[in-house]
Symmetry: C2
Subunit: 121 residues, 2 copies
């Protein structure tokens, strides 16, 4: 697979990451997401990582980069579905994903993003 | 990966298929989806296959089985995001996915399922 599908859900974009992210795939995802945010005028990006047992510093950085880029295009990012073990590892690695909102699942993530958008409106 | 994540979106469940489905993965998905429909009382299942370049008879049958099982549990299924080339191949293979609703993308799939549920209400 060379592209991760990006699904549009109203004003949000949704990505579920299911496979190991090698460099090229991560770059493509960042590019695709940025373009889709710009093209669709999406206000939020939801990234579901519930399928990932391991999130290393590479993925951690990718998530932070996506969130940072989306923010510049006026969209908020929420990373959802993180497994508890992944959260522990990330903190142990010193990767606390600052600037990235998190929620337990997609629904809670949407609620979070909607609330964030309302505060800004 | 041994499990495909199933995301809950309100009254619907959403699955995006991104990887080649070997037998065990397909069986797990069918089982997981059935259980989630029953547990959550979901009224609809959306299966996004936009990442698939090839849908063979194995996947075709899996989609039909999922739709059939969901129907018995009172949930409608929509397969969304099918690539045109995939549609051609399916028809050439004689697999027309009867009993499976299709839509161009997740949003249209949701609209389709909502309309189907309203007609039944």
């Amino acid at each position: 697979m060379d592209r991760i599908p990006i699904l549009r859900m109203g004003e949000f974009l949704l990505v579920t990451i299911q496979v190991d992210m090698h460099d090229q795939l991560a770059l493509s995802l960042q590019e695709d997401l940025t373009q889709r945010v710009q093209k669709t005028g999406a206000r939020g990006v939801l990234i579901d990582i519930s399928a990932l047992d391991i999130v290393d510093s590479f993925i951690g950085r990718m998530l932070a980069t996506i969130a940072g880029t989306a923010r510049l295009l006026d969209a908020q990012t929420a990373v959802v579905g993180m497994q508890p073990a992944v959260a522990i590892t990330l903190v142990e690695l010193g990767l606390q994903l600052r600037g990235v909102r998190t929620a337990l699942d997609v629904e809670k993530g949407m609620t979070l993003l909607r609330a964030a958008l309302e505060r800004r409106a």
